[in-house]
């Protein structure tokens, strides 16, 4: 799963970042690997009242209470089924109120890519269902598109999002 390879687009000089890629509704997304803490199988989630629908609830991660965001629901993807490949990626982000650990539910984890920063293109203004403010850029990996997410901003806005909007 974590076979590492350099894509054709990363030949130039400059910083190379590694991204963990995962699938959401058939598209491949990438998250900065430095913000990924671990990948976890499915677990019992306790629902929290007054939370938006994309907050599935909280889990017990070795004694700390960690909220779980379903990115498929967050991005309003049609099919948010749970199967054997569905996993929780545990990320830690430096939020406005200090370090925060959050789980995100994705369809499947795919690979780890090294991408040079100059090969990342800015996202176009219109990005369909994914709000472009959460997209850092688009990377072309030998003809395959990787949508790189601003995990920090995404998590922060999801977790602190107003629960009343969904109620």
């Amino acid at each position: 799963m974590t076979t590492e390879r350099m894509s054709g687009a990363t030949q130039g000089a400059g910083a190379v970042h590694q991204y963990l890629s995962f699938f959401l509704g058939g598209e491949e997304y990438g998250a900065d690997i430095l913000s990924v803490q671990e990948i976890k199988g499915w677990d019992t989630i306790t629902r929290v009242p007054y939370s938006p629908d994309y907050i599935l609830g909280v889990i017990n991660l070795r004694g700390s209470i960690v909220p779980v965001v379903d990115l498929r629901v967050r991005f309003a993807l049609a099919n948010a089924a749970f199967d054997a490949a569905t996993v929780i990626i545990v990320v830690h982000v430096a939020g406005t109120r200090g370090e925060r650990v959050v789980g995100i539910v994705v369809d499947a984890v795919s690979d780890v890519y090294s991408v040079a920063s100059e090969s990342i293109r800015p996202p176009p203004d219109i990005m369909g269902s994914v709000d472009h403010m959460f997209v850092t850029g688009l990377a072309d990996l030998d003809g395959k598109l990787l949508i790189i997410l601003d995990i920090e901003r995404l998590v922060e806005s999801s977790v602190l999002g107003d629960g009343k909007a969904a109620a």
Binding site: R47, V48, Y50, G57, N60, G63, I65, R100, L160
Partner: protein, 713 residues
Amino acid sequence: MSVDLEMEEILKVFFEESFEGLDTMESRLLTLGDGADRETINTIFRAAHSIKGGAGTFGFMEISEFTHSVETLLDEMRNGARGVTPDALQVLLQSVDVIRDMAQSAQAKRPIVMTGAKALSGELTRILAQKVPPAAAQTPSAAASDAAPAGASTLRASAQNAAATSVGQPKRDNAAANMSSTGPLEGWRIVFAPDVSLFKTCNDPMRILDELANLGPLEVTANVDALPLLSDLDPTQCHLSWTLSLRAAVEHARVAEVFDWVDANSKIVYEPIYASSNLSPVAPPPADPTQAAVQRTAGPSDLQVAAPNAAKSGGESGSLRVATEKIDALINLVGELVITQSMLCRFSEKYEPADVESLRRSIAQLTRNTRELQESVMQIRMLPIGFSFNRFPRLVHDLSRKLGKRVELKLSGENTELDKTVLEKIGDPLVHLVRNALDHGLESPEQRLAAGKSETGTLELNAFHEGGSIIIEVKDDGAGLRKDRILAKARERGLVDSDALLSDEQIYNLIFVAGFSTADAVSDVSGRGVGMDVVRRNINDLGGHVQIFSVQGQGSTIRIRLPLTLAILDGQVLRVGKEIYIASLVSIIETVQSTRENLSCVAGRTELFKHRADYLPVVRLHDLFGIEPDSRDITDGLLVVLEADGRRVAMLVDELLAQQQVVIKSLEANFKQVPGLAGATIHGDGTVALILDVPGLIRTFLERQTAHIGRAA
């Protein structure tokens, strides 16, 4: 590097011991007022001596020198060469404050401000210069005082005199000035050293200076010593301090008012300027420093009282002093645990079915060990509430002088233990309650006599355990709360409908509403209506609640109920549909199954449950939290009667499960605060269960009710 670190460690111990020593000095000095006891003077002397020695060793010469003169005075008292006069006691108490200020500056690695120390040194020198015969505790001022009430002893006379001087109220200014043979008030010298965070509190020093200039001719000298290099300068911080001389004979209150909004961390020293003092800093007449020093303590009490407390609570959170017995108990328990563990290990090597009984025994022992270990570890965090009570003798002493009231403070249950975090957070609310009781509760001696009570009021602070909680009571035998006035004020402010019928408890609870005050005059002690709401919020944040009992003319009791610890909660596990919640046992009055006769409905919406003589609104937890319940019929489920903030509701749940102690985990650390929830905990099977925040739940419920009514209207 490591030497530096070691030095830091030693310094830390020095400061800790110094503050402890100062606390000892303070509390003992206060007991000295009742009669000079040699051993007590010795204790005070020893504390001062160690501070002096330590300060000298670490190169805090300012502290060491000042403490030296204090020590000299104490030494003379100790030898019996000098009697203990109230005058000297007052100076010694102020010296404790000054030393504490200096030590705090030194601890924070700030330059030590000598203003207070200089003023007091003059005073100390004056006292030392007086050759007083030891037994007859006469001071010149006492002898000169004609104002002493007839029949009062000389001691009391001088105490009164000191009180009059220290009160420093505008109307007495002249009298005080005349007594100490200085001219009339000419103006004020003010040292204004704001905290670096001044700008953050939306204060503009320019405005303050302009305001002062409106009162009269103002000379301003800015002190730029604390200014950092331009490269290090943070423009959002205030590094300046000012020395102001205001040449206008205005009242102290007028000057203090200008600084009203400056926060408590700022230092403001007011020195009155008298005509005869000629404003010359060189060799001021001996009486001037008295005024200066005295005025310092008589400044706005908010600043004086709040600042040391803030510093204290900030400094306390770092380390914990634990009694050796507690550690020993822990070591014993760990020893037992190791033995149990080795017993259990034996089974993993060789297990025979016949061993089942001894395996079971070992596991039972393990369970017991774990529980005892948990209790002992919790014990480490437990501190006697005396740590919090200790500050009150001084506070009451100062405040009663200032207010001209006679108060006897009774402390009991100082050894009642509670969690360190709770202890630290309860300090400020208690200070507030005590100040309120002194200012509003207790009457002046004249009023008390007129009401047929003894001249001296009693203020009791009492702590004891009840169930899994600690109860703290602040009790005074003053005037009590005036229900009619509270109600009238609440109606005037539109907090209560004019025709609403309220129970006593509901009326008393009105004083917790933000901005509520029935005080006719706002004093600088209390009466602005700020505070009681904060008190209640702080206590609620700790998972406790406040109750007020009051009998008009006989006094009031404020009763605070707090959980012993914030880490563990005695919980009742509840089930609604498929979801599990935990409610704190403290907030549960009882649980009942309702019959249809006990239920009624108001306006087709608000359901009421008749519980004994009360009608309680029914809170459907499933509606509130959006859960699919087993049944929506109230008679099928159970009604849990909950109480918080003096309000009761009946919460509908499907089933009661176990009662158990749960470890409280923060929901906010990774997530956010959720209305109605106090936190989360982890079950034996590893799943998360949410803990209900009962006061928050009731608030959410009421908000929803009001929203419904709003929509219907």
